[in-house]
Amino acid sequence: MSVKKIKSIEFGVLSPEVIRKMSGVEITRADTYDKDGYPIERGIMDLHLGVISPGLRCKTCGHGMRDCPGHFGHIELTRPVMHPKFTEKIFPLLQCTCKECGKLLLNNENRNELIRFSEHPDKIAKLIIDFSKTLKKCPNCNANVSKVSLDKPTNFFADGERLYPSDILDWILRIEDQDLFLFGYSAKLRPQWFILNVLPVPPVSIRPSLSLENVVTAENDLTHMLLNIVRINNRLHENMNAGAPQIIIEDLWDLLQYNVTTYFDNNTAGVPPAKHRSGRALNTLAQRLKGKKGRFRYNLIGKRVNSASRSTISPSTDIAIDELGIPQEVADTLTLSERVTSWNISKIKEYIMQDKIKYLLTKNNRKRIVTPENKQEIADALEEGIIAKRKMLDGDIVIFNRQPTLHRVSIMGHKIKILPDKTFRLNPIACAPYNADFDGDEMQIHVPQSESSVSEIKNLLMVNDHILSMRHGKPIITPTEDLISGGFLLTQNTTEFSKKEAMEMLYSIGITELPQADRGRGQYSGKLIFSQILPKDLNLEYENKMYTIIKKIKGKVTKKDIEKYDCYFKVEKGKLISGVFDERATSSKNLIDVLSRHYPSNFIAEFYYKLSKLVFYTLSKKGLTIALDEYKTPDNLKTEIDQKIKELITTTNGIVRKYENKTLPLISGKNLDETFELEMISASSQIKDYISDQILLLKFNEMYDDRKISNNNTTMLSSVGGSRGKLLNVVNIIGLWGQVTVRTGRAKNGFKNRLLSSNVLGTNALMDYGFVKNNFYNGMSPKEYFIHSIGGRQGEIDTGVSTKVSGYLYRRLSNALKDLVVQDDLSVKSADGQVIQFVYGDDGLSPDRAYLGKNINFFHE
């Protein structure tokens, strides 16, 4: 089968001749079906227009419902009407020419000047109008120049008198070709075509009747519109033949014009939309194309597909990051094609016997369904060239996707693994690029149907090849949450395993040779176990998160500190010498970055798999629990906080007094109100900073009471490891919440001169504007809670609005940029062949592969 390619499509306007030529039948009856549901001849559903009910044959092409593509018909309009969408193109013609002789309203002098602009039809009209503004008489025939106006969308007036389409037609026909040429008209486009004498009737196949069990229940909106047009056209015809008074004819003529206008666009400004009997506005031609639900965006850019499946996702750490667990039902329903060749014929025979083949496509494209009864017979008769439709098996490749698909790693290739139960199973490490979680998210799989698409996915789309983000060149598929805290526990100096445990752990990652025990009494350190999954040639060092914390507390970190707190990650020849596995491993230049950048792409996937095995073994052995006790505020801290809050209230009262007396020294560039707000916020944030420093010190000392990291403060442990929670969260629980901010500042007044009706009128005190002195452990007072909720609500609104705003930004960006493609010489060209960049990004490097995203053609400090 050869595939034909569309090389180009030409747009244009249909001339009346063409409309008549391509028409299968002239429609004259405003009727659809007769009593038996058979299309009425010359009616709006005439059989010449194609067939939409089974059993009938098209009278134009003779095909049945399946093969008939549908054909156009036409309506001969009794009186011409304006094409509503092109009146603005007719308007300048009328403004620029003489009504009597059809010549341009120019004297010779101006005409010569005009020729210079003959390539810009838009400018010409403007120029001629400017030139002829002062003219009272036509320079050519001396007739009076009439002032033409357009009452949108379709009505023209000359000197206040109505110009009917037939008048305009006469006028336009008088204009000479050379003048029309100036306005952009040619032999291919005549202005008289915009005045409709004949209207094409679209095939029935694009406006099918809705029928339930052969009883026609509803007609398409276009059919309704066409019915109206034919009905009015006929009535106009009868009235004219009967010699009805002019006013009736004009009324009907206007009605015809109205129906034609709404038939093209039922949302035309200045025209009431045509309504269905039920009062719903009809969907006419323009509405079918327009907007998000229109033909372009709904059907042409987004297309519905086969071979897809959707289900809730849930996590599984027992599969690799590039694997995907799918339910048996999905694997058995979706199929892959496999062509029988001499290499796989025996395998396919096996599949047939195992009921893995659903059906075969024989050489003459016939379907043979495989059943338990005939499978032996089919297997025996199997020969090369037959296509087998196989159920999915472990190891097949699928595409996995989650909406919103904001970047390319929202769609990636996975190897499937058939698992019990009915959800898709995803390794939680691979959640980040999809932005997925397991609170009920649903995702899709798509099964590639050709060898080339499978190959494309394998080579370009697999998860392993997308560890590094194209956006910033840093890892995005990284360990999170439990893996971090587990790895943190595993690599602590104090973590030790017995020989039995070490054997279990190493066996689970495929190591069968036990290394030398490195601790006393035959114990194995966590660091040693962790080193087993590192490549043997790795040398790497960086600062752990704890390093930064100690730096913050003590000002600088000495060698002794590094030794004591074990906060400098150092790997020599694949052996972890000091430091721990924490959140920092996922930053750029650090462990994950190096492993994914400098080792083969499947190495990182294996590393993650092994890491999970070790980590979850560690976690289940050592445990990780949080006690409520950790969140109790110690008494001395409590008194200190109370003391500080008291001080804060006094200082802020001073600020308030100064503000009310207008003696507050202004911050340069700010007025009194702004200064006051800033002072109040900075005063309260100073207190919070102080208290959080105190809490950090307290908790730090608690953690390192006897040289080893203690297990009795898990909250801090997960914060220090970087798996979840920041110091701020701890402060909010055991310290205080502090000032509530709404967007950028304190909450604004909700009532006249006060935030809440419970405030005393006109006060500006700290507590009245949302300072929360309680913490989450103690709970807030009702008023604090209320003001705190104001902040929460604002945040919720902002997320809602910002998704909308950024969604539209993204749509515009992608529409503008999608045609830019890198050429063979690394230049970037647009679809029109314009060079946008001579070398992509000025150095030709790919963003994910460029070191730290730097440009190598320029020197960086």
Partner: protein, 387 residues
């Protein structure tokens, strides 16, 4: 294999000289670097435009919403979040929150006081800034009343200001002007002047500029790496650059259209990248420079700043399908019909619409395997091996 860029070769040269590598070792180093360089190059056929759009659009939800900050000593002009990104990308005619950073030549101001005075002298002061007019319609007189507080705030000399106002306000209707006194100036109009004209004159007078640079509403002195810098609200690059004390090399405005007007399109392109980068970075979002540069280049490549809007880049595409599928579908189809346009299926979306392979990535490769030739080749190969 592409050869290494010159400056990388230079760096290798320097490095091996420093470490005194042998020629063979140096060659090996160059080979390794060349291999890595070629591995790091972008793949021909990559739809990097779409990747750039995704990289800029995807973190959009993380940007803050509606936060306007201004030059002040506490926060020095913080990036503004998604509204600012949209403003830059739209290529709008004027920035909503224009701001300048005026750097000064070394040691032009000996004391802080002089600097302060200079900063204040830049502020755009109109008649309406420093006083109000009071109308007396019955007698057809208008008195200008000076706001002394404002004068003090702006460090203006009273007498000088009053004479300036007195000189500048000179309307044909005014029959008598009184010399400035302590509090203001009185104007008397002809008795026959229509009231409407009096009000019209006042509105005009209010806008008369007196001191400073047009559009600079506020100036604040901030410190940047030990240097005093004047930050402003409002921007007027061309005028500020004319001031002799100003360091013209470093003075900067965040108004891209103004940069385009003063320095041309290359500067505008650079400032689009700079401003986008600044906005994203101040929201803690990292985006590779390459994505921003491809966007900036597309916006600027034909000499004027075009926005990523329906009238800008997308609206000027030659393909009717590409335009119709974005916005204003009906309008674009009608204009394509009127102009007799031709759809050539050179872009991505056009081919997608008709269900053809797109001209990017694997769809762009025209090589196919000819099975007949393959068989021949295999035979040839086998023959060679036998011999």
């Amino acid at each position: 294999m592409r050869e290494l860029p010159k400056n990388i070769l230079e760096r290798i040269e320097n490095y091996s000289n420093k470490k005194s590598f042998s020629d063979a070792k140096k060659k090996r180093l160059i080979d390794i670097v060349t291999k890595r360089y070629n591995e790091s190059l972008v793949t021909p056929g990559d739809a990097i435009g779409l990747i750039a759009a995704q990289s800029i659009g995807e973190p959009g939800t993380q940007l803050t919403l509606r936060t306007k900050h201004y030059a002040g000593s506490l926060e020095v002009s913080v990036g503004q979040g998604i509204q600012r990104v949209i403003e830059i990308v739209d290529g709008r005619l004027s920035s909503k929150y224009p701001s300048m950073k005026i750097y000064l030549k070394k040691d032009v101001f000996a004391t802080e006081k002089k600097l302060n005075k200079f900063a204040k002298s830049l502020i755009d002061i109109k008649v309406s800034t420093i006083g109000d007019f009071q109308e007396d319609f019955e007698n057809r007189t208008v008195s200008f009343i000076l706001n002394h507080d404002k004068l003090d705030e702006l460090d203006l000399d009273k007498e000088e200001t009053m004479t300036l106002i007195y000189d500048k306000i000179n309307d044909t209707y005014v029959s008598k002007r009184f010399t400035p006194n302590k509090n203001g100036i009185n104007f008397t109009f002809d008795k026959t002047t229509p009231l409407f004209n009096i009000r019209k004159a006042l509105l005009k007078w209010n806008k008369i500029p007196l001191f400073g640079v047009k559009n600079l509403e506020l100036t604040v002195i901030t410190e940047e790496a030990g240097e005093k810098v004047i930050s402003t609200k409002g921007s007027n690059l061309s005028e500020v650059l004319k001031i002799p004390e100003v360091d013209t090399d470093r003075t900067y405005t965040n108004d891209i259209l103004e940069i385009n007007k003063v320095f041309g399109i290359e500067a505008a392109r650079a400032s689009i990248i700079k401003e986008l980068k600044f906005t994203f970075e101040s929201n803690g979002i990292e985006i590779n420079q390459r994505h921003l540069s491809i966007l900036a280049d597309l916006m600027c490549f034909n000499g004027k700043v075009k926005g990523v809007v329906r009238t800008g880049i997308t609206g000027e595409k030659t393909s009717p399908f590409a335009r119709a599928s974005f916005e204003e579908t009906v309008k674009h189809i009608l204009s394509a019909a009127f102009d007799g346009e031709r759809e050539n299926f050179k872009g991505i979306i056009e081919n997608l619409i008709v269900g053809q392979p797109i001209l990017a990535g694997t769809g762009r490769v025209k090589l196919t395997l000819d099975p007949k030739n393959l068989k021949k080749m295999i035979k040839k190969q086998e023959g060679l091996e036998e011999n």
